[in-house]
């Protein structure tokens, strides 16, 4: 009895130590490693619903040996990108949690921080090929042990997207799905398909672009390519270098957060096939007929619902807009306005939808709109949130002109048509919009239109 009193704490400590040893964390390096340069060393961390927070180190030679790895479940690999500072990606736990909450699967985090952490980006790019060879061998092992490669999903971020592509190419497109989150552009742009990700690398390749003008890849790389906010500047990201490091990575990293949002199913962002973002913003690409009853594809994790139709279409370039922060999705309406001003008026329209205490705002200011007498001006209004039953609408007309007299926009009819919901359009007739003044009114359900 006396002895136990002393032994018990020792035992508890030993158990704790054992546990800590079995939990494997993502390699944490620092700037000094990045400056010296790191050579490639890949660590495979397995997460399942049974060990959602505690990573299990998998062996490269015998990955299926661990009892936690279940052959019956689908397997998803998460492959990170360039780590200039050597720190672990701050989203790694969010993505494993989210994947496990969606499906019972084996989530394998490919930790190649040794190799990706290097101030010399070219070295990291070189390592992508080596990492891909290494992982291809692993896939072959898995296949030998009875894992169907068509149930394998590779989620690659930045350089990781191209690694996924290389793996897929060397396995003759037998991999089920590759999701590329803002695939890296530098040193990959302009390369032939075998030196980058391309649609032939897997049975289905979906790509998100958020930083095509800097760290991302401009051209389409998958069966479907989503260009969030046109793929260039993401809302809420710093516009000047004075904001420090986030200026460089904010747009690029946004791809992961958009994907996480879609996985969480907070809301749905419909993506519209279009030739350019400006055409999309002008409301010229809202036709979703080619997708049948499913409508235009919803960006994100659940894009597999559109897999068959997208494979038939070959490559599809789509656009959608997002908010500054999560929830990122916006709700789209078409607004058309007919005016009777004798002279052409140019300006911007701000619309607010009210429903009880909820209020959604859309500002149409990507370019100045033209209002010509008795001619319909069609605009795409993107609201920051979804308002279920609109009770009141506010309209504001602005020109941005300080020097000129205050103009009035004389509206014959304004019509608001929801795109994503099958609801009747709302109308209001005979509105006088003095510049910079918000006019609020109750819309009526539209009946018939002759103009």
């Amino acid at each position: 009895m006396f002895l136990w009193q002393y032994l018990a704490p020792f035992l508890l400590i030993t158990i704790q130590i054992c546990r800590a040893q079995t939990c494997e964390d993502f390699t944490d390096l620092d700037l000094s490693h990045a400056f010296i340069g790191t050579s490639l060393r890949i660590k495979l961390l397995l997460y399942t619903r049974e060990n959602a927070t505690c990573g299990i180190l998998l062996s490269h030679t015998n990955p299926t040996a661990h009892p936690q790895f279940k052959l019956s479940r689908p397997t998803t690999f998460v492959i990170h990108g360039y780590r200039p500072t050597g720190s672990p990606p701050n989203w790694i736990h969010n993505i494993t949690d989210m994947l496990l909450s969606r499906d019972d699967m084996n989530v394998i985090v490919v930790d190649w921080n040794h190799g990706a952490a290097n101030v010399n980006y070219m070295k990291a790019v070189e390592n992508t090929h080596k990492a891909a060879d290494n992982l291809t061998a692993l896939m072959k092992k898995l296949q030998e042990h009875g894992v169907s490669l068509s149930s394998v999903h590779l989620i690659g971020v930045s350089l990781g997207a191209h690694i996924s592509g290389f793996i897929g190419a060397s396995l003759n497109s037998t991999i089920g799905r590759i999701t590329a989150l803002d695939p890296a552009g530098p040193l990959f742009t302009g390369k032939p398909p075998e030196d980058r990700l391309d649609p032939t690398d897997a049975q289905f390749v979906d790509v998100l672009h958020t930083d095509i003008d800097a760290l991302g890849f401009r051209e389409p790389l998958g069966h479907i390519d989503f260009y969030a906010n046109g793929g260039t500047d993401q809302p809420g990201c710093p516009k000047t270098i004075f904001s420090g490091g986030s200026y460089f990575k904010c747009d690029h990293q946004r791809s992961v957060f958009l994907y996480l949002d879609s996985e969480e199913q907070k809301c749905a962002s419909r993506a519209y096939p279009c030739t350019s973002y400006s055409d999309y913003m002008d409301g010229q690409c809202l036709n979703c007929d080619r997708f049948g009853t499913a409508g235009c594809p919803v960006f994100g994790y659940d894009i597999t619902k559109w897999k068959d139709v997208l494979l038939n279409l070959g490559q599809t370039k789509t656009y959608f807009s997002t908010n500054k922060k999560s929830p990122f999705c916006m709700t789209n309406y078409v607004v058309d306005i007919v005016t009777w001003n004798q002279e052409i008026r140019w300006g911007y329209i701000t619309i607010k939808l009210h429903s009880g205490s909820k209020e959604a705002v859309a500002t149409i200011d990507h370019k100045v709109s033209k209002f010509k007498k008795f001619t319909q001006t069609k605009l795409l209004a993107q609201f920051d949130k979804d308002v279920p039953s609109v009770k009141k609408i506010s309209l504001k007309f602005t020109t941005g002109n300080v020097l000129k007299p205050k103009y009035k926009l004389r509206v014959l009819r304004m019509r608001l048509t929801p795109i994503e919901r099958k609801e009747r359009p709302l109308c209001r007739y005979d509105i006088l919009l003095p510049e910079n003044e918000e006019v609020t009114f109750r819309p009526i359900p539209c009946e018939e239109y002759n103009f």
């Binding site: 009819r413 007739y429 005979d430 109750r442 018939e448 002759n450």
Partner: protein, 260 residues
Amino acid sequence: MTSKTNAMDNIQLQNTNTNGNDGAAHVDIEPVAAGNGEGQGYPTERDGLLARQANAGNGETMPSPHEVEAQRRTNPEKCAMCRIKDQLNEKVFGVFRLWMIIVLILIAIIVVIVVSMTLCTVLYEDVDEKFDSSLFDVPLYFNGSFRLPNQDFTEDFLSLSSNKSQEVAAELQQKLADLYRTSPALGRYFSTAEIYDFRSGSVIAEYKLAFVMPADEQDQLRNFTLSREMVYNVLRQFLYDQEAEESELMYIDPGSLTMY
């Protein structure tokens, strides 16, 4: 007298200096003379007068041309800056110095811009608010009906001559007239609103709206501003707006509105 002769001597000396010197010295002196407002750049026979004026006007603050030249020769590198400074500080007219004049001109320009802008804004005439109703001669009529669910159809409504029906008709006509007269788009074309019959079914009121429009624009107006869609929906949205008064006697059911 002594000062006069001194000045004369100075000028004489200066002239000889200038003539005997290189071009740079000549240029150095020149603006001093020009700055005095007379506009004479080159030394002429009137130099004596000019120098005297300069002395008289600037008094003790103005160094004699001799001294100026001496100063400039000692600090040639300062010359450009000090020349501009000197020029700016020179008295141009009465108590005004050159920099004051420049600032005043700038202020004047700004004032002119602001005044013209405000004038523009104040005098701006909205062409859409101007119309000549004497040119409106083509009539256009709309008929229709709506229901007053809170009224009981009594014998009074059978004839428009009864007090009750006249009272209700007058109120409804007023309502319609007020609505269309205050409409930004339709107001100018509106002429009359008339209730010409009551039918049973609670009470159904038959109305007639009359508009007049200019002949030269009638095709466009018929298709847009004075289209049935427009006239009908202006009334319809007005009826939907009165939601709060649903229990009132004069309440009109928006769903019952017809127009043709």
